[in-house]
């Protein structure tokens, strides 16, 4: 299959390993990526917190650019995914807003392409059977909890992703890779996201709670699909509860025997290599 690809700002910076692992996994699964031409930032929380119209116009510019490829667009960052879906929702529901935004952005929005996250592309389009068939190194001994966070799921009418209180598709992907995915009740709790720099004190409390619950569930690592969650979980947990955190695509790549995981793991703040070595996974 072929999709447009919107990496977003984080994947060119602090979430470099997410970008590289998404590209590697896509290649291995036969998903061809065509980057959206001259994309710009989605505006994230800062735009919608301060200026509604800006928060619709910034993603709209990218949606219009993506429509030129006439392909569904893959958006790996959960924060960008949420802003794209929210913009789509308002542009489709409010004609007056749509024409105003089209004038601001200087292009027509048609709404003909779907906004997809790689979790859901792998689950629905590739399928777990195909994925399982490609596993060469099952993740035996790895006990992840899957952490969905907020932005893939809520609000459900806009995101249309998975069950919003108990999502399972990432759990199923990880189990297909041979991991012993642990059930837990914090998979959709907020990590404090956008406050990480301005109110680190509050975010540390939230993240440490999430990590303690992951430990209580018997996990030895946490898996996410969001660069904001990754940065928070990997950097803001107190020393006594921290655990290695992975982008789910890093683990898919590892289980598929692809090149890259060693170099990506070096980029993490909490070094996952001791755990992976002890399980003979690297």
């Amino acid at each position: 299959m072929k999709v447009s690809y919107y990496p977003g700002c984080s994947l060119h910076g602090t979430a470099k390993e997410y970008d590289q692992s998404v590209r590697a996994v896509s290649r291995a699964l036969g998903i061809e990526l065509k980057e959206v031409d001259d994309w710009s930032c989605c505006g994230a929380t800062s735009a919608h917190s301060t200026n509604f119209k800006l928060s619709i116009a910034l993603p709209a510019r990218n949606l219009i650019a993506a429509e030129k490829n006439a392909l569904d667009v893959m958006v790996p960052c959960a924060a960008c995914f949420n802003r794209f879906k929210t913009a789509e929702h308002h542009l489709k529901a409010d004609k007056a807003l749509k024409s105003e935004v089209e004038e601001i952005v200087g292009g027509k929005y048609h709404g003909g392409i779907a906004i997809r996250n790689p979790i859901d592309i792998i689950f629905k389009d590739i399928g777990l059977d195909t994925l399982e068939g490609k596993v060469t190194k099952p993740l035996a001994g790895l006990k992840p909890v899957s952490y969905y966070g907020c932005l893939l799921l809520r609000p459900p009418e806009i995101c249309g992703f998975d069950d919003y209180e108990n999502p399972v598709i990432l759990d199923k992907i990880l189990s297909t890779l041979g991991a012993d995915t642990r059930p837990w009740s914090y998979k959709t709790d907020c990590c404090g996201g956008s406050l990480t720099i301005s109110r680190t004190d509050i975010v540390s409390k939230m993240v440490s709670k999430i990590m303690s619950m992951a430990r209580e569930a018997g996990a030895n690592c946490v898996v996410t699909a969001c660069p904001v969650c990754m940065a928070n979980l990997d950097m803001r947990a107190s020393d006594n509860v921290r655990l290695p955190v992975f982008y789910f695509t890093e683990l898919v790549a590892l289980a598929l025997g692809l090149q890259g995981p060693d170099t990506w793991f070096k980029l993490h703040n909490v070094d996952p290599r001791p755990l992976m070595k002890s399980l003979a996974l690297i």
Binding site: T14, E103, R154, G193, T200
Partner: protein, 175 residues
């Protein structure tokens, strides 16, 4: 003249917030309630009572992390998350100083970085934030570590058509 409640409802453009029957489900699930001085449902009540100054001066409206748990669970579809956005915007538009100054300064630094490059360049955005907030030293070690790992680069690619991005900022600028 519109009441405070009418103004907020107009900005939210969804179900009127007086549908709230104060079951406190939003507050029970709010991950930031522990750090707020007024709980989310309390803000609804204060708006109904016209307590504009206290609401717009509160830390609550800035601490809300937009996790959308409240609106997802509200039995009356009251969009508390959008209400918090609306209140932040009203505070900015009417010149009420943000109680959580650094949170607003972070948003301003983030947006001005988009205006400069079209995309966020994390190191320069952090410098902009540090200069604005005066919080010069926190996360320095982390930043240096990321530089050494090659995660932060001063010269990440920009959006080529910067003019189009600048135009979006110009045309959506509030009076």
């Amino acid at each position: 003249m519109q009441t405070f409640l009418e103004q907020v409802n107009e900005k939210i453009d969804g179900v009127p917030i007086q549908r709230c029957y104060h079951c406190r489900k939003c507050t029970a699930g709010c991950p930031l309630a522990f750090a707020m001085e007024y709980n989310p449902n309390k803000i609804v009540k204060m708006i109904q009572m016209g307590r504009r100054n206290e609401v717009l001066n509160s830390a609550t409206i800035w601490l809300c992390a937009s996790c959308e748990t409240c609106v997802t669970r509200c039995p009356n579809e009251v969009d508390i998350a959008r209400m918090m956005d609306a209140l932040r915007q009203m505070a900015i538009e009417t010149g009420v100083a943000a109680k959580e100054k650094n949170i607003l300064k972070f948003h301003e630094s983030f947006l001005s970085n988009i205006k400069m490059f079209g995309r966020i360049n994390e190191p320069t955005m952090m410098v902009q934030y540090k200069l604005k907030s005066g919080d010069l030293f926190s996360d320095m070690g982390m930043g240096i570590d990321m530089f050494l790992k090659g995660k932060l680069s001063l010269s990440s690619p920009k959006t080529k058509d910067l003019g189009a991005v600048k135009k979006i900022f110009e045309k959506t600028k509030q009076a």
